[in-house]
Symmetry: C2
Subunit: 435 residues, 2 copies
């Protein structure tokens, strides 16, 4: 590392521009506090002429991002393009091959190619920082990569997608429909025009796969994670969940019990007054349960220019300190392949069906549940409550006793074949620990 | 630093023994993950013969802790004795003078002598770690010393004393008296035989002074912090606060607004469903509000063998990585002297008085408040509620509109001179931000 670190930055959208402004704003702080001096030697993006929040002409322009990785004067490449293939992929591998430091906010890249990146960074002895890839401004990667938690981790539970959390919060707090809440999120710039990945759980699953690798030395495929989105949650589900003392949150979790490692993204009932239950709007939270250090909770803003730039800067500082730990805490050769675990752990579930207004319906419903080993702890059924288009069906809400997910799946399959109910039933797990 | 770091450990109580077990348990993890090898070269405590949870004879015994600092073979001294003078003080200064690394869990030492330690560590270029001195297993010091937050911090708010938080939680959740809750804390080992420092706010103030130094480059004296304890909070205060939507927590805070820096430890009303409001038992929490990274919340266990050992180990890792930042983020010569600020920021207050059952009492009370510039937002007075020994007085609870603390102080002085009330009134600030 030269005395003055030469930085190249690729991708100059909101985040890229934010990182440049943040680097310039904190130049003297970095020098005073960490004795770190830098120079932005080159910048690159798809178009030079777009309007941007900083003066592009003060830096050398590179037409192709990959040339930043090839420039022998550049020590550190910061990638803010996104995507797990194409330009971002090439830039990452070329930078690391050329023994440059590499910092990214790209969760898809790390999630899809982490194992290769890990291996390559070991052979080049290169620094890779990806704090900004997970949970915006929350230092969760640093916490998991540093020495904060050396002892055994039992599980990690988080709200990792701000958009879906915003939607669930609005449904729950403002009594809005899913559609109206999504529209509000889009109007506020919290959701993309195509919000599929936020809503169907994939974005959270990408982030979970990274956290899981750090905690459990297993680099999971998306197929090894059970992923459910929030599309089927109704406003009334929030109301009933609250009657039971819970909020519904999209929880991404990896938890280890015995030899069993369950990785899941699912709308989940969490205690209203818990760390996970009180997180609203676009905030993120990560709870790490450990053997010796209790439960550590980290909460903050999950996205946006400020938080993401802060995380990128914290990686720049780590680079400057010559931090030299493995990408996922273990040597790449010690990372296991994806493990698809049978989910044997029993949990309570929230069940909502729209039950036919006919004699014996409740008895038939409970019979099907009972046959599948599901026993009921609490029930709410109120006369006169119907869905707009389903006048002959009434919502019935149940909390089950602990049961495994196979039983739930088989009850689900059986229920949807009957004419007892309208719409698919929903089964949401209840988080046991008061996280 | 030699290849195998030679460690000396002084103080072998619960924490010291925990650190030794934790070091041994994580030996291979430290080597694999951080390429850090160590050897415990010497241990020392006041008595060799006490029963301990590890085998003392496997290590070389030093009769005097100070000799660890003088031994030229030792690279790193870990001090777990406690106290801001005497043995711990001598050990710290001798270690650093001799250019050894120094790690401590001693908040009193850092709070009282931080500025000298800071100066000395600069001239010796020595590492000092004190993660375990504040908020147990929560990595708050690391977060504030590392690059996580470079941009401006607006304020820091925390629950930093687990014992008092346990007592307040039991009063609020189990409807117990202060005395019974304290007894329960003592029976569970959460409170010392003499719990004064936990209850009167001094312990929290020590920790606040450390956090304040890191955030605002001002090294405060205890005199420059407004400190109030929890001794005068009654169980009924929790009930009334909850009716208004708040819990009462002992909040330590430093907040900057314009040129004004308010440092305070005080029982404070915080929103029930906020990050500060939901922390119960002996947990700690720190909320850091920033200009660019929103609010970062860190929550976890505030004390105990496991969390404290984890924090000490995280300092060992930082030492091994040759982390070289300033003790309080700035050069010691750039740390300002204690600033005693006039508290000009207006806040709402919770007021509880026992008002005489006599004609015109309420009118006289509000007149005194009004005269002092205090205007009332909400009042609760219920007939027939009295304290056991004060049959002729009824509790009256008020929430005020925003007002400065001078007005509160002068209303207090005036009220206690009248025969309108029994017992001193209590005024508790209401935290405005939903932290």
């Amino acid at each position: 590392m030269s005395d003055v670190v030469k930085i190249g930055i690729a991708g100059l959208g909101t985040i890229g521009s934010g990182v440049i402004k943040s680097l310039l704003r904190n130049k003297s702080e970095l020098e005073k506090k960490f004795k770190f001096q830098f120079e932005i030697l080159g910048i690159s993006a798809s178009s030079k002429d777009k309007e941007r929040s900083f003066d592009v002409d003060q830096f050398t322009w590179f037409d192709k991002p990959i040339d930043l990785a090839k420039d022998s004067n550049i020590d550190l490449v910061i990638e803010l393009i996104g995507g797990d293939s194409g330009v971002a992929y090439d830039l990452a591998f070329e930078s690391i091959k050329n023994k440059k430091g590499f910092i990214t906010a790209n969760k898809a890249l790390i999630s899809s190619h982490g194992k290769e990146l890990s291996k390559l960074s070991e052979s080049s002895n290169s620094f890779i920082g990806y704090e900004a890839a997970v949970a915006g401004g929350i230092p969760v990667i640093k916490t998991l990569r540093s020495g904060v938690i050396l002892d055994k981790i039992d599980g990690v539970y988080g709200i990792l997608n701000g958009t879906s959390n915003f939607i669930l919060s609005r449904m729950s707090e403002a009594n809005k429909s899913f559609e109206d809440s999504l529209l509000e999120a889009q109007n506020l710039g919290y959701a993309e025009a195509d919000p599929s990945f936020d809503i169907n759980g994939l974005d959270a699953a990408h982030k979970l796969s990274i956290i899981n690798s750090l905690c459990f030395a297993e680099f999971p495929s998306l197929e090894s994670i059970s992923i459910k989105g929030i599309e089927n949650i109704l406003t009334l589900d929030h109301k009933y969940a609250q009657e039971f003392g819970y909020n519904i949150k999209l929880i991404a979790s990896s938890s280890k019990k015995g030899g069993n490692l369950r990785k899941e993204v699912a709308p989940t009932l969490v205690k209203i007054e818990s760390s996970l239950g009180t997180v609203s709007n676009v905030s993120n939270v990560v709870c790490i349960t450990t053997e010796y250090n209790g439960t550590l909770v980290l909460e903050g803003e999950g996205a946006g220019e400020g938080p993401t730039s802060s995380s990128v800067l914290s990686d720049v500082v780590d680079y400057s300190m010559n931090t030299r730990n493995y990408l996922f805490n273990k040597k790449s050769s010690d990372l296991s392949d994806p493990i698809i675990n049978k989910d044997l752990i029993e949990r309570c579930y929230y069940l909502r069906v729209f039950l036919a207004d006919q004699k014996g319906a409740m008895s038939n419903l409970t019979a099907i549940l009972g046959k599948n080993g599901i026993s009921i702890d609490q029930v709410i059924q109120r006369g006169g409550v119907h869905l707009k288009d389903e006048k002959n069906f009434t919502p019935v809400i149940m909390l089950t006793h602990p049961v495994d997910s196979d039983s739930i799946d088989s009850a689900f399959s059986e229920l949807i074949k009957t004419d007892l109910i309208s719409m698919d039933p929903i089964f949401l797990p209840v988080l046991k620990d008061n996280l």
